[in-house]
Amino acid sequence: MKYETVIGLEVHVELATKSKIFCSCSAHSFGADPNDHVCPACCGMPGMLPVVNKRVVDFGMKAGMMLNCDINRVTTFDKKSYYYPDLPAAYQTTQWFAPVAVNGLVEIETSKGKKGIRIKQIHMEEDAGKLVHDIREDTTHVDFNRTSVPLIEIVSQPDLSSAEEVEAYLERLKSLLRYAKVAECEMAHGTMRCDVNLSVRPEGSDKLGVRAEMKNMNSIEAIKRAIDYEVARHIDAIENGTEELRQETRRWDDIKGKSYAMRTKETAGDYRYFPDPNVMPVVIDDEWFDSIKASLPEFPEVKKAKYMELGLSEYDATRLSESIAIAECFEDALSVCGNAKEAANWVISEVTRVLNAKGMSYEMLTLDGKVLGKLINLVLESKVSRANAKKILDAMFEDPELDPIKYAEENDLVMSNDTGLVDKVIAEVIAGDAKAVADFKGGKDKALMALFGKCMKQLKGNVDPATLRTMLIDAINKL
């Protein structure tokens, strides 16, 4: 018998705000001491009043619009009760009855072609704290720095049917949310986490199989391995009766390559959702809605098509549109220098070279594309050689305020238009290395490179290489 796999995902994404969702504590605790970013509100003390961070709603709306959702213009917060030490109030404030965004659609592309994945809803909620179990034998240590850090949870319909589709879907979410600058979405940093709901049924059946849920998966590779394992386990159970499948939460052990049953799934009733009386409803008026709509970026594929219309190759257009930071750097540089091919080359080869050397991701790029455009102009106007322009680019990464023209002048990097000076240097170099001259005349092309290098060094790189080469050969031939 043939089987089909039915997968739905719940993806938690940490929003890139400065402060927490309901209080003014910092939302960034990387490197902070435990409980350094806490207040009575986020450590659940009685009598505290949560106040919604406006930017969380901005980002929730933006995410919803990027994923083609309808935005609920009256959106409300609810209490989800459960008892665990990482949740100091014994409830999580989340959205159940009127989440910020509903009914979306995300298009993915795999080896089988394009497919639409429906989004059930996106809701805004607070993260839980962190428990540390290995400091002491007898107690668990609790750190509330992460409590109330804003999250959105993106709930898909069970429209995914393979590990490949899941990967394409997660990559697409990441790309769109990064483009809108609402989240980092880095699974390795915990800023994107994923729960996988999976079941298997005979192909063509309209009845869903028994569902297993795997929580808090934190790498795409692990998710793919877990899906393959679970599909095999389910089919084995159905065909050979190796075990009785139960609706349950399972933990994936990526090292052993196995999943384990954790606990039977609580039903929604067990969380006893009810409206949070302390958080007022958020009403999104037309002005607010329109301002968010106007702030949305173009989709990556729209930018790519535009870049190809500028005459760039598909490869270059893809590279430039992969990351919003790279795309914006390119567009800014182009607006100043007006030469798409040059701007593309500088961004694709040189800017990424410096980023790679510094171990920085594309999203960390802070270089002002307009200043890059100025630098490109210096090269196009033959004021600075390409080699020296690369040195100036390195300096621009160190100092964001740097003006390339001033820097070139101050550091003797301006190309010499003084052919008299070039002639003089060539004459000196030829006179000083009779052997190399003789070798070149005798047919050894390599000897020219030695002479060329000496001239370039004396001229501090401030000469167009092709011009220097021609002048050097002319000078030798005249001997």
Binding site: K18, S24, P34, M45, V51, R55, A90
Partner: protein, 93 residues
């Protein structure tokens, strides 16, 4: 509300009620259920859903970080702390 629901709620909330407390809770909820029956009889077919009990909405703040409390003050009444952490009885993941 019956004894089975009460048993589940005890479990979910990590509470252990005495027999007298259980009787209290059960009679409290029996009274609330009676009140509910009165409310349920009201025809609400043409009534808009009430989103919230307070007549105010959209209380939001700007995304600005303000540090208002020191950890030492927040932990002053904690039964046990260690190296900046709150300590709780050992839990299993």
């Amino acid at each position: 509300m019956d004894r089975e629901i009460l048993r589940r709620l005890e479990l979910l909330n990590q509470l252990k009620l005495t027999e007298a407390e259980k009787e209290d809770v059960l009679s409290f909820f029996a009274a609330r259920e009676a009140e509910h029956k009165v409310l349920e009889a009201i025809d609400t077919a043409n009534t808009e859903r009430m989103v919230h009990v307070m007549p105010i909405d959209t209380v939001v703040r700007e995304d600005v970080v303000v540090k208002m409390f020191e950890r030492e003050d927040l932990q002053a009444q904690a039964p046990e702390t260690d190296e900046g952490y709150w300590c709780v009885p050992k839990v299993m993941e």
